[in-house]
C-alpha cells in the first residue's frame, strides 16, 4: 500500500484499517483497541503521519467551508481543507494565508498538528498565531471548542501536538489582507555566511518574508555562498504580469536517486552563478510553492526515498553551529538542491511541542544512502545537541528519542494531553 508512505518515502507503514471521515458531527470511529491517527495529504516527511497496524482516519472528506467573512478575513472550515483550496477561495477576494509553509498541498489539520511556519516567521510567528480556534474531538466523545482563551491548555497541547490529542474537526483562521496575488521579490547573492548574517539582519527589518538558499555543495573559499530572497505582498499595480500555472509531474520512480554528488555540484554551481541582484513581481504560486509545480517531485530521490534534516539553533550559538553543520555536510558530498537557511523571530510559539523558536533554522534533503546517510546525521546531531538546538518532528524519520526529550522540555506536560486512543509511528518511536 504505497499510498500510506509519507513524503520522504523512507517509511512505508500499512495501517490495519483506513476510515474516510465525511461528517464532522459524527462520533469518532471505534478503533477496537487499535490506535487512531488523522491523515490528511501525507506531506509530513517522516513518520508523524503514519500508524502501522493502526487505524488511519482519512480527513479528505472533511473538506467543507463553514463561513468566510469577506470584511474581517476570518475563515472557518473543516480540517481536511487544503491550503491550496483556501488560496483559491480567498486570494481573488483580497485575502491571503497569514502564515504558509512551502507547499499548498497540506490540510488545515496538518498545519495545526505540526504548527507550521513560513518565510515570514520573524514578522508573523507560526500558523497557530493566526488560529482563532478549533474543535477537538476526543475519543471519550468530548468536543472541546478551543481558542487561546477557552481551554488554553488544550489549545497549547494541540497546536504542534502531532495529531495525538484527538481529532481536529474544524478550525477558524485569521487571514491577512492583500492587494493582489503578487509579491514584490528582491534577490541577491552572498558569498559567505558572514555576508548572509549581515544581509539577513537588515532584510528582517524591511521585509516580511526572508529566506536564503545555500549552495551546500560548495567547499573551501566558496563555502556558505547562496542566494538571499526577500519579499512583501505587492501593492496595487497598474499592470500585473500574466500568470498561468503549469503542472508537471515526475511520472515514475527511478531505481536510483537522480540527486547525487555530481548532479548536485553541477546544479548548485549553475544556480549560484545564474542568480543576479534583481527586483521583480512574482505570482504567489512560484514564489511560495516552487515545488508544487512538479507533482510527485519526491520520486526524484529514487526507490530508497530521502530524508529531510531540519534543525533550529538558538541565537547564542547559531553562527558557529550553522557554519559547522555546513562544513560537515559539504565534506560528505551529500545534500541536495534544497538547502534553506532562515532565521526565526522572537515571538514565542504557542504549542507545547512547537518547533519554531528564536534562532536560525537550516533544512536540507538527503537521498537515502543507508549507513552513510545515518552516519552523517549522527554527526549533525552532535552539533545540534551541543548548540542547544532542536529537530523538526514534521520532517523527521530518525531522530534519537533522547534528543527529542532534550529539545522539547515541555514534553512531560504534553504527555497528559495525549488521547489514549490515538498514536503514531513517530510517537511510539519516541516513547520506546
Amino acid at each position: 500500500m504505497s499510498e500510506w508512505a509519507s513524503w520522504g518515502r523512507v517509511h512505508q507503514a500499512a495501517p490495519a484499517r483506513v476510515i474516510s471521515l465525511v461528517d464532522r458531527a459524527a462520533a469518532l470511529p471505534d478503533g477496537a483497541g487499535r490506535s487512531l491517527l488523522a491523515y490528511g495529504r501525507g506531506r509530513s516527511y517522516g513518520d508523524v503521519c503514519l500508524n502501522r497496524d493502526g487505524v488511519i482516519l482519512h480527513t479528505r472528506g472533511l473538506d467543507r467551508w463553514i463561513r468566510f467573512d469577506r470584511q474581517s478575513g476570518v475563515l472557518s472550515c473543516e480540517a481536511g481543507v487544503t491550503l491550496r483550496e483556501i488560496l483559491q477561495l480567498v486570494v481573488p477576494q483580497g485575502w491571503f494565508l497569514s502564515v504558509t509553509p512551502g507547499t499548498r498541498e497540506v490540510t488545515v489539520g496538518g498545519a495545526i498538528a505540526n504548527d507550521v511556519h513560513g518565510k515570514n516567521h520573524h514578522a508573523a510567528g507560526t500558523f497557530a498565531h493566526h488560529l482563532r480556534g478549533f474543535e477537538l474531538l476526543r475519543s471519550d466523545g468530548a468536543r472541546l471548542d478551543c481558542t487561546p482563551a477557552r481551554h488554553p491548555d488544550w489549545f497549547a497541547a494541540t497546536v504542534g501536538g502531532l495529531g495525538l490529542t484527538g481529532l481536529v474537526t474544524r478550525a477558524e483562521l485569521q487571514l491577512a489582507p492583500v492587494a493582489n496575488a503578487y509579491l514584490d521579490v528582491q534577490t541577491l547573492r552572498f558569498h559567505d555566511l558572514d555576508e548572509f548574517w549581515e544581509l539577513n539582519a537588515e532584510a528582517e527589518r524591511l521585509w516580511p518574508y526572508t529566506v536564503a538558499w545555500l549552495d551546500c555543495a560548495a567547499r573551501g573559499a566558496s563555502q556558505g555562498r547562496g542566494v538571499f530572497s526577500c519579499a512583501r505582498h505587492a501593492p496595487s499595480q497598474p499592470d500585473l504580469p500574466l500568470f498561468r500555472e503549469r503542472r508537471r509531474t515526475m511520472p515514475f520512480t527511478p531505481p536510483f536517486s537522480l540527486v547525487n554528488p555530481l548532479s548536485l555540484r553541477a546544479f548548485n554551481g549553475l544556480y549560484w552563478h545564474k542568480a543576479r541582484t534583481r527586483r521583480a513581481l512574482s505570482h504567489y504560486v512560484p514564489y511560495f510553492y516552487p515545488l508544487d509545480a512538479i507533482a510527485h517531485w519526491n520520486r526524484l530521490y529514487g526507490r530508497a526515498g530521502f530524508y529531510q534534516y531540519q534543525c533550529v539553533v538558538p541565537p547564542s550559538t547559531m553562527r558557529e553551529a550553522i557554519a559547522e553543520l555546513l562544513a560537515r555536510i559539504a565534506a560528505s558530498g551529500q545534500g541536495s538542491f534544497l538547502a534553506v537557511l532562515k532565521t526565526f523571530g522572537s515571538k514565542p510559539s504557542l504549542g507545547l511541542l512547537s518547533f519554531a523558536r528564536t534562532g536560525a533554522t537550516l533544512a536540507l534533503d538527503f537521498p537515502n544512502r543507508g549507513a552513510v546517510t545515518q552516519h552523517l546525521f549522527q554527526d549533525l546531531d552532535v552539533i545540534v545537541r551541543s548548540a542547544g538546538g532542536a529537530l523538526y518532528p514534521a520532517k523527521d524519520a530518525r531522530m534519537p528519542p533522547d534528543l527529542f526529550r532534550q529539545a522539547y522540555p515541555r514534553l512531560q506536560d504534553f504527555t497528559s494531553f495525549v488521547d489514549p486512543a490515538f498514536g503514531s509511528d513517530f510517537w511510539r518511536r519516541m516513547c520506546a
Binding site: S20, A25, W65
Partner: protein, 251 residues
Amino acid sequence: MITGQRVLIFGVNSAIAQAVARLLVQRGCHVYGVGRNAEKLRAVLEDLRVRAGPDQRVGGCQADLDDIAAQPGWFDQAESFLGVIDVVLIAHGVLPDQLVCQGDLATTMAALHSNALSAVALAEEAAHRLQARGAGTIVAIGSVAGDRGRQSNYVYGAAKGMLALYLQGLRNRLAHHGVHVLTVKPGFVDTPMTAGFERKGWLWARPEQVARGIVRAMDKRRDVAYLPAFWFWIMLVIRSIPERLFKRLRM
C-alpha cells in the same frame, strides 16, 4: 448549458449530490437542498453559501425523503425560496445489505420504498410542475445495478431498475413538452454508502468525477449517462449474457 438555473436537490447530503451542487453553484445556479440528516444538511449548505456569488441563493430543509405525502410541500417551499424551479435532481438512496433483505421482508420493502417509490413520486411531482411550464430538467440517479438482477444485490438493483424504466416512460411523455429527463447510472463510487466495500482499483470512481459527468450530461441533454462512461460497455456485455448461462454465475 447549465448556468444560473434554479435547482432543487433531493438527497443533497449524498456525496455525489454534494459534488454536483458545488459544480452548479460554481456555474451561478441557485440551490435548494433537501436532506435527511439535519447536521449534515447544515454543513453542506454552509459550504455552498461560502462558494456562492453575492446574488446566489442557497437554502434547504431537513425532511424524511420517504414521506411521500409530504413531498408536494417541499416543492412549494423550494418554489417560494427559488422563485421558480428549473432543475430537479433526485439523488437520495440507501444501499441495503442483500443478505439482511433475504431474511427480513421489512428491510426489503423499506429499501424498495426509498430507492424506487419515493424517487418515482418525486419525479412525478417534478414532471407535473415542469410540464406546466413547458421547460426544465429532471435528473435521477439510478445505478448500473439496475441493468440486470444479480444474486448479490438484486433488491437494490430491482429498485434502481424500476426507476430507470419509469424515467424512460417519463422521458417519452415529457419530450413533447420541452422537459429533459436524464437517467444517471453510476458504477462503483467511493462514497459513505459503499463504505463496506474494499474500494480499490480502476473500477472505482470519485464522487467529484461522477458529478462532472452528470453536469456534462445535463449540458448535452443526454438521456442516459453511464458514469464513468466505460460502464456502458461493461453493462452491454453483462446484459448480453444469455439468462440460461447467467443464472449459473456467481455475481
